[in-house]
Symmetry: C2
């Protein structure tokens, strides 16, 4: 495999040098980052702008208000533990925000973002101890000793996020940076304590693994890679204490090399898997890579919601059994969406397989993009597919419990999701395109400019699209080398009847996977991918018991839903008529539906429940809306999966 040795970083360069979170040293595809990709128009550009203008500030302001940033000041001023506020892992939210600010500052060059980074990172840096340890929850007089609660203390988890912030800084401002020094000292400390012959433990919440491998990649220090390997290999042998959830909760029941599917706490499982892919790539460990790939594919096949969301159990924020995918109790934590994108992107780079880019697309459009409110000041933590009760809107200054999912909340007592969104939105460029020796591959579609260095020379492309509203993607070549190369465009797995039009005007039908045009390209040559976007009925595998007799509607990569606001009734009693296809009407997708009138009996089980159905109102067309746009019109009920009219069924 070709090497992706990091290009030299320019100190304090105004332009970001590499600017992306994942830089494997080998793989089928090489990623392109902020240095090469600029998203400037459309769906993702708008979200990046919302992140820059509002979400980052919103998050920082809440962290300041709740004292989570102040914990670092308190540490320096000797006021801990007395003045400590927030949960044991609150440090990580500051680190994830720093990562976001680093990416964001590099994305636009905005000096205000740089100032923000300097000011916030300085407060963090001051709290670092002489031996490199950094954390506000443990180790001081009156606090529990360091690493005395590996199961739940989250110390290495926090340090992992600190390291990822350092990697972002290194890849945007260069290695010669005081914050990067802080991070390297912290990583050295971790290696000192947990290295060979040291503390044989692992962290209850994986994260340090993926961080250490990236730090190895950006610094070249093999010690960090070795430590990541130690952590991954120790885990899965019951090294953590038995807990009521069971050791699969933190993936300590089975080594990652032997697991066949993702299990336990979803975010933990996904972060661990992402780190294991990174480790496998750097170690050239084909068995480990194959194992994680198989687990991921099994999870997509049996434990993933239509939205791409993962996590079917509220208890333990965990995966359920195969095909156990209840829409109403979907947990589908936003952080699990982010982590699934991280994992699938790594597998895409390693294998080049379209299904991973398909998963990234589905999850970005339906879970990640739907978490923030339109004004960027409230979020979903959990992402249900069936909102049974309207709930109520939290107040602007209210800190919500994490699993309250009826309406977006400004902040949560556990606020891992908003900070995960900020760093993901800031670094979105990393998901659009890759390069190999053969050419350029486009995986996600956004109005953007893409520059790729091929062996024979530089390719510059302009992508114009209104995706996902419109299925037309136009790629114009601005610059290209004089020899032939291959432009490959992903045709999504759901796309039937897509066509690719070459520069000479010839159109070909293209199947899901990657469609290719291979030729010598001249400036102003255009390649156009047309993906049909007709709304479609989607049914579930018969093993998904929870949605038997129900149907969903998708349009392109976007999952739709129905809200009571449009139905004019509680969605619990809707029945849709699948004899006619869903159709576009006045810019909306509509389905034909009716509402059952069901009598309330004393006992809901009987030999003849048809008697409960007193009738149905008149069938009419009811608009659907993108799932990500749910709950934007006040409290309402909502469902993605809708019961189907079935005259053959005893219950109608």
């Amino acid at each position: 495999m070709p090497s992706n040795a990091t290009t030299p970083l320019l100190r304090g360069a105004a332009a970001p040098v590499r600017g992306l979170p994942v830089v494997p040293s080998q793989g089928v595809l090489r990623p392109l980052g902020m240095a090469d990709v600029t998203i400037d128009d459309g769906f993702w550009a708008d979200l990046q702008e919302l992140n820059a203008s509002t979400m980052i500030e919103h998050a920082q302001s809440w962290m300041e208000r709740l004292g989570w940033i102040g914990n670092f000041d308190a540490a320096v001023e000797g006021r801990l533990p007395h003045d400590r506020r927030g949960r044991e892992f609150s440090d990580s939210e500051i680190y994830k925000l720093l990562e976001a600010i680093a990416w964001e500052g590099a994305r636009t060059g905005d000096p205000a973002m740089e100032s923000r980074f300097q000011a916030l990172s300085a407060r963090v840096a001051r709290a670092q101890e002489p031996d490199g340890y950094l954390g506000t929850m443990f180790g001081r007089p009156g606090q529990r000793p360091r690493y005395s609660d590996l199961e739940w203390g989250h110390e290495l988890y926090c340090l992992g996020h600190l390291i990822q912030a350092g990697v972002a800084r290194a890849r945007t401002a260069g290695l010669d940076d005081s914050f990067v020094d802080v991070v390297r000292r912290a990583a050295d400390h971790v290696c000192d304590v947990f290295g060979p012959g040291g503390n044989p433990g692992v962290c209850g919440h994986p994260e340090i693994e993926v961080a250490l491998v990236e730090l190895f990649r950006v610094t070249g220090e093999r010690r960090y890679l070795d430590q990541a390997r130690l952590f991954v290999d120790r885990r899965g042998h019951g090294v953590l204490a038995e807990i009521e959830f069971g050791q699969q909760y933190f993936q300590d029941d089975v080594p990652v090399r032997d697991a066949t599917v993702l299990d336990g706490h979803a975010v933990r499982a996904l972060y661990l898997a992402a780190g294991a892919v990174d480790l496998a790539i750097e170690d050239d460990d084909a068995d480990l890579l194959a194992a994680v790939r198989a687990q991921t594919l099994a999870t997509l096949a049996t434990r993933t919601y239509l939205t791409g969301g993962m996590g079917a159990h509220h208890e333990g924020e965990s995966f359920g059994q195969d095909f156990e995918l209840p829409p109403d109790r979907a947990y589908s934590e936003t952080c699990a969406g982010v982590a699934s994108v991280m994992l699938n992107q790594r597998l895409l780079l390693a294998t080049g397989e379209a299904r991973h880019a398909d998963a990234v697309e589905r999850t970005l459009y339906n879970v990640v993009a739907g978490s923030p409110a339109q004004d960027g000041r409230a979020f979903f933590y959990t992402n249900t597919l069936h909102q049974r009760t309207p709930g109520r809107a939290p107040a602007e200054d209210e800190v919500s419990p994490r699993a309250a999912s009826s309406l977006r909340a400004p902040w949560f007592a556990v606020s891992c999701c908003p900070s995960n969104l900020t760093r993901t939105f800031a670094s979105l460029a990393a998901y659009l395109a890759t390069v190999d020796d053969d050419g350029v591959q486009l995986h996600q579609y956004a109005g953007s400019t893409i520059r790729a260095a091929l062996p024979a020379g530089v390719v510059t492309l302009r992508v114009s699209t209104a995706y996902p509203a419109d299925g037309r993607v136009e790629v114009q070549v601005l610059d290209a080398p004089p020899s032939a190369w291959a432009l490959r465009l992903r045709v999504p797995g759901w796309a039937q009847g897509a066509t690719l039009t070459a520069p000479d005007g010839t159109s070909t039908g293209v199947a899901p996977g990657y469609a290719e045009v291979r030729q010598v390209f001249a400036p102003r040559d255009r390649v156009v991918l047309d993906v049909p976007m007709a709304p479609r009925w989607t049914w579930a595998d018969p093993r998904v018991d929870a949605v038997r007799g129900q149907v969903a509607v998708e349009r392109g990569p976007v999952v739709l839903c129905m809200e009571s606001v449009d139905l004019g009734a509680d969605v619990s009693q809707v029945r849709v008529d699948t004899a006619r296809p869903p159709r576009e009407h006045d810019g909306q997708v509509v389905v034909r539906a009716t509402v059952l009138d069901v009598a309330k009996g004393p006992w809901p089980f009987a030999a003849d429940p048809v008697a409960l159905v007193r009738g149905a109102d008149a069938a009419r067309e009811v608009p659907l809306l993108p799932y990500r746009q749910r709950a934007n019109r006040g409290p309402s009920t909502m469902r993605v999966w809708m019961p189907v009219v079935d005259p053959a069924s005893p219950t109608g």
Copy 2:
């Protein structure tokens, strides 16, 4: 309403004097207890024998082995907290066991049970403090202070179970008993601390309320009733701390008088409701009684499983939303089954309404009777209706996490369910029959002798039945007064086509509710109730999304299920043919079923999932078995709700 003033208790009488857990001072129906009812044959007699011979010893032996009983010794010997073992509420398991031993000793007069009670209660009694406090978790040097954690400390919960043990002792051995003295001192302590002007708190886990009212009933001390009222009225105003689960978890968001349905942690909600009924009866508070009755009926209508089980959320062991009843994630804690029986029995006594006796029947046969293994040495804590994976059998000496539900476990780290079973089985006689001025009412059917004192004289009945295997219940009058009285027999809500045959041989069709024969009865007069027991298809209200397109089978009060052992395949792919009714064949209920062969695709959602179904094997008759008998033949998959063959459905 007529008064049920307790009859004078004879000290040390070999025969139990009243012997039942609930003795309201007024009500539509007056309960009969162990003094009047002897179960001696059939289904319930066998379970009582298993309890007496095995389950009580098994429970005590585990409590001893794990040191939970030893905590009381350690308390006396000054070895706490150093030697304390078990969870903060482990004291309550000893108290529930004492209650069981008290009932059991009275049930048969077995001197070994009396010795067991004396020995165990003595160890408990020694640990009582001078001010009456009794508990091993709090209050000593090195322990948290008493009542410093009302949310989770379970102190009043434990004391409530202590009090119920004392009530059982008082109602079997008499008020003049040293253990009853211990209990009274503990109750006085509670009133001293939490009375008017004292600690204004409530316990995070209701139980003290129902216990205090019964202690009032057995002692006549109004102070205990007043304290119960204080606890009930304080609750529901956010007096407990905010917790992540939300204050509805412990029913502190809404006062019980204002709640419309049972919500939050199921066992907490049910114990509180039972105590509220007791309070309402003693206070003659019709509004409170009406409120709890309405909540209970709403819960039966929308939040109860077909088995009678309650609790749809693993997280928080809680009720779900209305009609949110997933079979696979059913929590249906055994303790919630016991508590539902307690609540519904109280409402039966208060109102005389058959639906409450129906609920008691359903829950006893399907949840309570199914928790213990056939040998009495293992139990279910949770009671799923869809076992997706075979799981594994815990080892004989293994302590299981509570929610492990694939196979019964010998013991649990949280073992509230086994001890709840022991006290319920020992006091089953209390559920069979009641009396009013008009006659005798039979609610549950078991081979038994029943003696009831009517105003005009004593009635003695012999009930012969093989219920639930057989629907014939023969009631023979052994003794009766010379004037007319009414014998009423419950016709279950599920029973269509039942007949009642009077002593003169005439048979009448009787509808669900109570069927009555009113006449002057002579010795040897027989009344026979014949309840048809043909197996029947049961469908769910269309609002229960989780079982759409699925059907269950019931036979009499018994819910059936299918196991992979009989299907010869994982039950996930079974399809039953409802064109033919389920039938009896060779002593089993069989249904016609097939098994689908479904291809495993990379993504379980598609426009055309029929393509996933590769075929089905030959239809054949497959036996079902009573749900309570599940998991008795080793690891297997199981389901109560079975998908129906539906040629009209795209997914088959």
